[in-house]
Symmetry: C2
Subunit: 105 residues, 2 copies
């Protein structure tokens, strides 16, 4: 499995817009056949910073996400809300080591 941590820093005035758009995107993303998780988390000591924690079955699943209409809609909506460019950091998932333990059902 592959896990992508996307570090996001938004403008304070667009924080709520970003949360709404990202939860919509997460709900669609977990329906993709290659996706196992799509968590949206907000930093406690700086509420303008978020991480999208995305887990895919394999690299094809990660690539397929970028081709979906919900990803395109999210990307275009959030573009003007960024305080700085996003940073997506790719990881190999070491544990859990079985797919069943990752899934959002």
């Amino acid at each position: 499995m592959f896990a992508v941590c996307v570090e996001v820093h938004v403008k304070p005035e667009n924080r709520d817009d970003f949360i709404r758009a990202s939860i919509t995107n997460a709900k669609c993303s977990v329906q993709e056949p290659g996706n196992l998780r799509f968590d949206v988390i907000q930093q406690v000591d700086d509420p303008n910073r978020f991480i999208l924690y995305e887990v895919y079955r394999d690299s094809a699943g990660m690539a397929a996400h970028k081709e979906t209409p919900h990803y395109a809609a999210w990307r275009d909506a959030v573009a003007p809300w960024m305080a700085e460019p996003r940073r997506g950091i790719k990881h190999t998932a070491l544990w859990p080591d079985t797919e069943a333990l990752w899934a959002v059902e």
Copy 2:
């Protein structure tokens, strides 16, 4: 729910030791009543960097983890293997918004 992202940078010669100790710790941690996930992921473009993605039911669960013998054993074992100090960043989990969707069963 609370999510802690622990950013870890290890010495190359201790990478495999760190992986073994952290998987042992993860397997014990998901048995804690307050823990919902404990993922161990390794950065693709720098295999000496890891994230521990820990999700707890509440802040008491997060605090209770630090009191466990498996946490103490991990902390002491990995101390000499760090290339730089760890950084644990606390988050509020926004989505999924129900506990059932977080759990490693």
